[in-house]
């Protein structure tokens, strides 16, 4: 294995990058100025070194707690539950939401060995027990995302908190990450009681 092969392998592990694209990226870097490649390496190194999950909500952040959890402007009585940190970015881009977040770190998928213990469900219950007015379930409208919402709703029910679900209008089977801001804003406005 040469170092070139190593880099191709690393690129090929990234989502949406096949073997052919991995080769193209590698040879692009080999042709560019050495400083360009080093700058990319430093940027990758910096995120690996400095970005961590927020100890409160699970969002990816350089500070702890994250900027959203630390902001006095945000309404801490409303928690929006998402699958991944990237979903937070999508909802923030809509500019419609003033509450805080909770990242589950995935969705239920027994076939992949992902049950409630693999997700941050217990930390969510702890946060809700501290006093929260509303939990908005914003998991993806896929089969797995919907089942995750149903499950979280069920374990929250005994706590007596108001639980809502983002309205459909999001494409069925689609990913929140790819939905545009307008769609997310409409879905937030039309969220339903569970």
């Amino acid at each position: 294995m040469s170092v070139i092969d190593d880099l191709v392998d690393e690129f090929a592990r990234l989502p949406g990058i096949g073997r052919r694209t991995a080769l193209r990226l590698t040879y692009f870097l080999l042709r560019s100025a050495p400083d360009d490649a080093r700058r990319l390496a430093r940027a990758i190194d910096a995120v690996a070194e400095r970005v961590h999950p927020c100890s409160v909500c699970g969002n990816l952040t350089e500070e702890d707690p994250c900027r959203i959890c630390a902001s006095p402007q945000r309404d801490r009585s409303v928690i929006c539950v998402v699958e991944e940190p990237s979903d937070i970015a999508a909802i923030e881009a809509s500019g419609e939401y003033r509450g805080v977040y909770h990242v589950l770190g995935g969705r239920l998928s027994p076939l992949d060995g992902i049950g409630p213990d693999e997700l941050a469900v217990t930390p969510l219950l702890d946060r809700v027990r501290e006093g929260v007015a509303e939990v908005i379930l914003a998991t993806n409208p896929s089969v797995d995302g919907e089942a995750t919402a149903t499950y979280v709703h069920r374990v929250l029910a005994p706590l007596g908190v108001r639980v809502t679900r983002l309205a459909r209008g999001l494409p069925v089977g689609g990913d929140l990450e790819y939905a545009d801001g307008v769609t997310i804003a409409q879905a937030l406005a039309g969220r339903r009681e569970m």
């Binding site: 089942a147 499950y151 069920r154």
Partner: protein
């Protein structure tokens, strides 16, 4: 008209053509089994449309499967289809095969697959519902298999009920809407007593077929009832994945006045007739639902059938539609009388050899 000896590639050719309709093997073979021995991938491409009419719209469909990566690429007019439902049904086709009698005689799964394929071809929303339902079902069964908590198992119920209700609504409606056509085709082929199609749901008597809310409610209640048994048996026992399409011989009745089940009481000839009638019904329905003639593929059905049935089928296909018919048989000569004006092609060792038109 494709002729050639056994193992020369007649079925392969028809399978390749039909692959562009459903993007699956009609034999139920897995994609990796369709790759030629020693090769890494297969690729099929076809032009679909009124090709005789240059002004009419037509599409180029392609499908490729790579054995090593397990990747399947489907394109419509050169653009990759992100979901299979974007490409399924671009080539409306119905296939008649020598093993079709299994639909009438065999396990319920074969009849469910018949309904699923027919509905998916004409309704992309049905295929999407089917995929969502299957996902929820496998996940729920996995929970049951692992002995997960009730909350984990029941987390999948809402999705199961939502998509399951759409599936049974569409299937039950299809059966209701096509029952007359089936009876007509059955009578035309057999020249004997009537037969009837009935959708059999494991949890609810038929009707009102159109009411998806009612199907949701009744399916939800059924899941509730079988909850305990599901946990014991470790799989989901009720749902569209357990339903059946029954074929009843309505001139012969059982003790309670019900039509006798063709699967049990029908003769071999009646079962063959029913399978053919189902295919003809499928073709007629596709014609109505999609507003064009489906391509009819007949794969070596003629060894199974007597000459009289064959003649009826060709008459029915010929009289009701002007669509393209591609048929395969071991012996071209047998065909002179029934198959007039057919382009004759021989296949040998996987290659098409000659083409001539029979007067």
């Amino acid at each position: 008209m494709i002729s050639g000896g056994n193992g020369q590639g007649k079925t392969n050719l028809l399978e390749a053509i039909y692959y562009l309709a459903t993007f699956r093997s009609f034999r139920g073979a897995r994609d990796e089994q369709l790759v030629r021995f020693g090769a890494d991938f297969f690729r099929v491409e076809g032009q679909v449309g009124e090709l005789m009419d240059a002004a009419a719209e037509h599409h180029t469909l392609s499908a490729a499967f790579h054995r090593v990566s397990g990747e399947k690429r489907v394109t419509v007019d050169g653009r990759e289809a992100l979901r299979l439902s974007e490409a399924v049904g671009r080539l409306p086709a119905v296939i008649f095969t020598g093993t079709d009698v299994g639909i009438a005689r065999g396990a319920p799964g074969l009849r469910r697959r018949f309904l699923d394929v027919a509905l998916s071809l004409a309704r992309p929303a049905y295929l999407a519902a089917l995929q969502q339902f299957r996902r929820a079902l496998t996940q729920r069964n996995e929970c049951l298999r692992r002995g997960s908590s009730a909350a984990e198992v029941e987390a999948w119920d809402e999705m199961l009920v939502t998509w399951g209700a759409v599936i049974v609504r569409d299937r039950a409606r299809w059966v209701r809407d096509n029952a007359d056509a089936f009876a007509r085709h059955y009578a035309a082929i057999s020249g004997s007593g009537p037969a009837r199609l009935v959708y059999v749901s494991g949890w609810k008597d038929a009707g009102p077929e159109d009411d998806v809310e009612e199907w949701r409610r009744s399916y939800g209640a059924a899941l509730e009832r079988t909850r305990h048994a599901d946990r014991l048996r470790r799989w989901t026992r009720v749902g569209p994945h357990r339903d059946d399409l029954a074929i009843e011989l309505s001139d012969r009745t059982g003790a309670r006045g019900e039509g006798l089940d063709l699967r049990v009481y029908g003769s071999g000839g009646e079962q063959r007739t029913a399978a053919l009638a189902l295919r003809l019904t499928e073709a007629e329905w596709l014609r109505g639902a999609m507003g064009c003639e489906p391509l009819a593929l007949l794969d070596d059905v003629f060894g199974e059938l007597d000459r009289q049935r064959v003649r009826r089928v060709l008459e029915l296909l010929g009289s009701e539609g002007r669509g393209q018919v591609i048929l395969s048989a071991a012996q071209p000569v047998d065909w002179a009388a029934e198959a007039r004006d057919l382009l004759q092609v021989t296949v040998e060792g996987g290659r098409l050899r000659s083409a001539a038109r029979v007067a």
